[in-house]
């Protein structure tokens, strides 16, 4: 099934070296690409007249701590033309950054800010990479696996002195 998927075939022809792995689980196709080529691959998937993945349904980060490479960024694309979903994944190390796809899909603006906020993944060429859900000055990135669920102040309500 994977080999016959049109997007996989076209990507393998166009980017023979950057496709790391293609897998399928529960009829969902995942394409793992090299981090440095993410932008080109996304641009191709977006603009190729036969594919036209014009809708970025979701973009999120993953943390595989303590495994390496530690992080992954996952893109869920949707094509109105083919009524088809595709998952693109790129892995990166803790100190690396990944190209932003904000210039392809505007919706990625907040998705990437969220991933930056909660995982500390930095995106190159993002126009406005600030924290989104947490405030500026917050320490740490809560969705990292080494960040505790309960902090030292858990269940200890703060009572100001009157």
């Amino acid at each position: 099934m994977v080999e016959t998927h049109l997007s996989v075939k076209k990507l393998q022809e166009r980017f023979p070296t950057s496709i790391r792995e293609v897998s399928t689980f529960r009829n969902e196709v995942t394409i793992e690409v090299a981090k440095k080529d993410v932008f080109q691959v996304c641009q191709f998937l977006f603009s190729d007249p036969e594919l036209e993945y014009q809708y970025l349904t979701d973009l999120c980060g993953l943390d595989f701590y303590p495994k390496t490479p530690r992080f992954a960024v996952v893109y869920h694309l949707y094509s109105f033309k083919r009524n088809d979903r595709l998952r693109v994944k790129a892995r990166l190390e803790e100190d690396e950054s990944i190209p932003s796809v904000e210039s392809i899909w505007k919706v990625a603006n907040w998705f990437e800010r969220e991933a930056y906020d909660l995982f500390g993944i930095s995106f190159e060429n993002h126009p406005d990479l600030r924290r989104l859900l947490l405030w500026e000055g917050y320490e740490g990135h809560p969705l990292r696996k080494d960040y505790p669920v309960e902090g030292p102040d858990f269940d200890k309500p703060f009572r100001p002195e009157v």
Partner: protein
């Protein structure tokens, strides 16, 4: 000539018309908006982080608390994702009841939207009418699930319990009555001159922009894109029912209003079809590793008690893998992305919420417009901050 100076105004986070704790910083040239920057996160509870420390069953109540106007729809999205991960089948009766509950919830959610949206623009009567009908839906939920706002009715593999006796007649009475109520709303708004002036050609977003900005749900369909997860990726037996996807033309506030009104009518039609065809049978999967045994069995039979204890205390272990599953919630496409490492807790539960993306597109809709229209546009994209901040 004096130099042009922009005025910066902070709207929110405790503004009654922002539908929650949304803060928008507006830069104004007179009354015209030059720049709008939304600030979110005031309601961030870390649901995605919390879910990583819970078993798969324990996550269901968390999903109620995302979009609290559409709790059944959120439950449905989550249980479908886990069922896809496990690869289990749900009995037909459970699927039909799920569809019925999700559609009733869609009606209730749209009623809240209509009431508050009209209230923001200045039509107070609508709110009172809408909450009258919403109350009927919530009474049905209370009887079916035991909860009104946070029902947590669905379970992985099926439902928590079967429909109570006599509820079908109550649901039937509601849907028989409801179309005439929609007509009543329409007499108040659809051709009302003030309503038209406040909503026509306000907050326009074009088809291409709506797609590029990741807008979904009635906001996307208002711009003329015929995309509805119920039709494009049918789930929970939606393919068995006849319904249409209403779309707008230019993507202004009025189009979104019309789309939602028509959607309520189609939801009523779906509920009617479910009631007519509701099959008999079990309401939860018979997979012993996943589905909780019925309560009466737990009280009588030691094997069922052990099974119940195992599932509640330990959960189950799905195969290693990742699934992405989405449903059409009342606000748009609600998607769950679960990554499993084979343990009894998700390695990652990512929730793509519709309001998050719709709000991201807000500046696109209001920049260049008037400040008085901001309220109308925020109301028309129907955001709930509970699911934006999660």
């Amino acid at each position: 000539m004096a130099e042009t100076r922009f005025m910066t105004i902070n709207m929110g986070p405790q503004h009654p018309a922002t539908h929650g704790v949304l803060r928008v910083v507006l830069e104004l040239d007179g009354e015209v908006i030059v720049k709008a920057v939304p600030h979110i996160g005031h309601l961030h509870r870390g649901i995605e982080k919390l879910a990583e420390s819970k078993t798969y069953h324990q996550v269901i109540p968390l999903t109620d608390r995302m979009d609290y106007t559409n709790a059944m729809g959120n439950n449905l999205g989550y249980v479908l994702a886990v069922e896809k991960l496990l690869g289990i089948e749900v009995p037909k009766r459970a699927q039909y009841i799920r569809v019925m509950m999700a559609e009733l919830q869609r009606i209730a959610a749209h009623l809240i939207w209509l009431g508050t949206h009209a209230l923001d623009i200045g039509a107070m009567t609508m709110l009172l009418y809408n909450f009258r009908e919403r109350e009927e839906v919530l009474r049905i939920f209370e009887e079916v699930a035991g909860g009104r706002l946070t029902p947590t009715y669905f379970r992985i593999g099926g439902l928590s319990k079967d429909l109570p006796n006599g509820i079908e007649t109550k649901i039937k009475a509601f849907i028989d009555n409801f179309p005439s109520r929609i007509k009543e709303y329409e007499t108040l708004l659809t051709k009302n001159v003030i309503w038209l002036k406040r909503t026509k050609e306000v907050g326009i977003i074009s088809k291409e922009d709506a797609i590029n900005w990741g807008v979904s749900g009635p906001t996307l369909r208002g711009s003329g894109v015929k995309y509805d997860v119920r039709k494009n990726f049918p789930y929970s037996s939606y393919e068995d029912f006849d319904f249409d996807i209403p779309v707008g033309t230019i993507g202004d506030v009025y189009d979104r209003y019309i789309v939602r009104l028509r959607e309520m009518e189609w939801s009523t039609a779906i509920v009617r079809q479910v009631l007519e065809r509701l099959p008999k049978g079990p309401i939860i999967s018979d997979n012993p590793w996943v589905a909780l045994p019925p309560k009466e069995m737990v009280l009588q039979d030691i094997a069922s008690l052990i099974r119940h204890f195992k599932i509640v205390a330990e959960g189950f272990r799905p195969p290693v893998g990742e699934v992405f599953s989405s449903v059409e919630a009342s606000k748009g496409e609600l998607a769950f992305y679960i990554v499993s490492d084979g343990s009894n807790r998700p390695l990652r539960l990512r929730i793509r919420t519709p309001s998050f993306c719709n709000l991201n597109a807000l500046p696109k809709m209001i920049e260049g417009g008037l400040i008085a229209d901001v309220i109308a546009v925020i109301g028309s994209i129907d955001i709930v901050l509970g699911e934006i901040d999660r």
